[in-house]
Symmetry: C2
Subunit: 263 residues, 2 copies
């Protein structure tokens, strides 16, 4: 492949994470990355590596993951949508494809990420949502959870919500631009947006908010917990199957003219 | 078991039909009925048969199936909810249980059944909805579908929407009390209610409405099709994974005092 013919493609990807060991390729397949790279190889003949905006955990879902790769294949972006959806298993779909500048950095270039954590709150579990929402059988006070969530807005040290993979010595300061909880019938939705997140930050924040919703933590307790310096002080993470990567924001992506690029 | 100790229990049941060969026990397990009867046997030691309000097809879902059985077990209804949910696989859950009169007939006593057929209407498929909604990639005119659906309200002969299991010679007259189509973003919802339905009636009606939504049938074409006498004249059924049995209505069930019976 002559490098002069290389171009960079960015994909917007939805997946059902239930059957995957997360996004990133590792010793134990299957991962979303493995299946994406295999589909690309079937289309282009190239064995290449894709990079993603957010490494989602095993079992977590995405409605708008962004993935990029360099390719020498001559196809227009629409062809990547149609052909990759043909080769991919039903658990993964390409929603859109765009050619981006070679300087596009899918991870460092992202200016924001939006996640959602979905909780089913009713006495009995739901078969139809069992791999789509975390079940809490006791009544949650979503208004109290929302008041606690609002305390986390802005820039602060999120060390108490950090998971085990956050490197020792790394900064745990982050900025949240949205952090809210709302209820719609039996579903409690925790929505959070920020420039970037610590490992397990959303699932650990959701876990502490559930303690507030159950009345086991007051608003003052939650405020005190969120102000502690100890890593992971806010308690364990909720399970990954309630977590969705909703979207990733960039300054110049997706391009404004790309509305018709979904094949 | 002394018959004097027998009582009748009715369950409200949700299930994900994806992995089942329908509700009814048959030569090829697994069926929802098989798993329910096994869970009841584990709880009560009784090998009994359950009866349902609506025999859903392989792959179709239920949010409010009603199932009844006679049992000599001394447990209160709440125990059936908790214990059966413990024994059942995650694909089935008991939402509520009530003791009903021995005269309660779960099938013939039902005064109404409500179904929903869910269509994902966008260019690309959705991994998160792949076993929950039928995918139509070309744009559907939901308003036109709704106008056609409204033509089916009231009592009429539904022979053109009858499936192969409707017995020859059986009446195909039915009454619809609700028949409407609405869109919410990418989801097109077909809702239908009536006292009872022919085999595949909802899925065949949904199929003809999709032809209207695609512009392949005009409102007049649809009216003419619906007025034909030939069985199945309206065309094939849409696949079962978009179909939900939402609820079943009875005159005296669930009992008004049963609000707390969900364990």
């Amino acid at each position: 492949v002559q490098t002069s013919h290389l171009k960079k493609i960015a994909l917007i990807v939805e997946y059902d994470g239930s059957g995957y060991h997360g996004f990133q390729a590792q010793a134990h397949p299957p991962t979303v990355q493995d299946d994406l790279e295999q589909a690309i190889e079937r289309l282009t003949g190239e064995r290449l590596r894709v990079t993603c905006a957010s490494r989602t955990d095993a079992g977590a879902h995405a409605k708008g993951q962004v993935v990029s790769f360099r390719t020498g294949a001559p196809y227009p972006p629409e062809t990547f949508v149609r052909a990759l959806n043909h080769y991919l298993p039903g658990q993964i779909a390409i929603l859109a494809a765009h050619e981006v500048p070679m300087s596009f950095d899918v991870r460092k270039g992202a200016t924001g990420r939006r996640y959602r954590y979905l909780i089913l709150n009713r006495p009995v579990p739901s078969p139809l949502l069992r791999l789509r929402a975390h079940h809490v059988s006791m009544a949650l006070d979503a208004a109290a959870m929302d008041r606690a969530a609002a305390l986390l807005l802005g820039e602060r040290d999120f060390a108490p919500f950090a998971g085990p993979l956050v490197p020792r010595g790394a900064s745990t300061r982050r900025t949240l631009t949205e952090c809210q909880v709302s209820r719609q019938e039996d579903l409690v939705n925790f929505r959070v947006a920020g420039s970037s997140f610590l490992h397990q930050q959303v699932r650990r924040t959701a876990g502490a908010l559930v303690q507030v919703g159950l009345g086991r933590l007051s608003l003052d307790d939650f405020r005190a917990l969120a102000s502690r310096r100890e890593r992971s002080a806010a308690g364990p993470a909720l399970p990954p199957h309630g977590l969705y990567l909703d979207s990733v924001q960039y300054t110049d992506f997706p391009p404004a003219q790309g509305a018709g690029r979904t094949a």
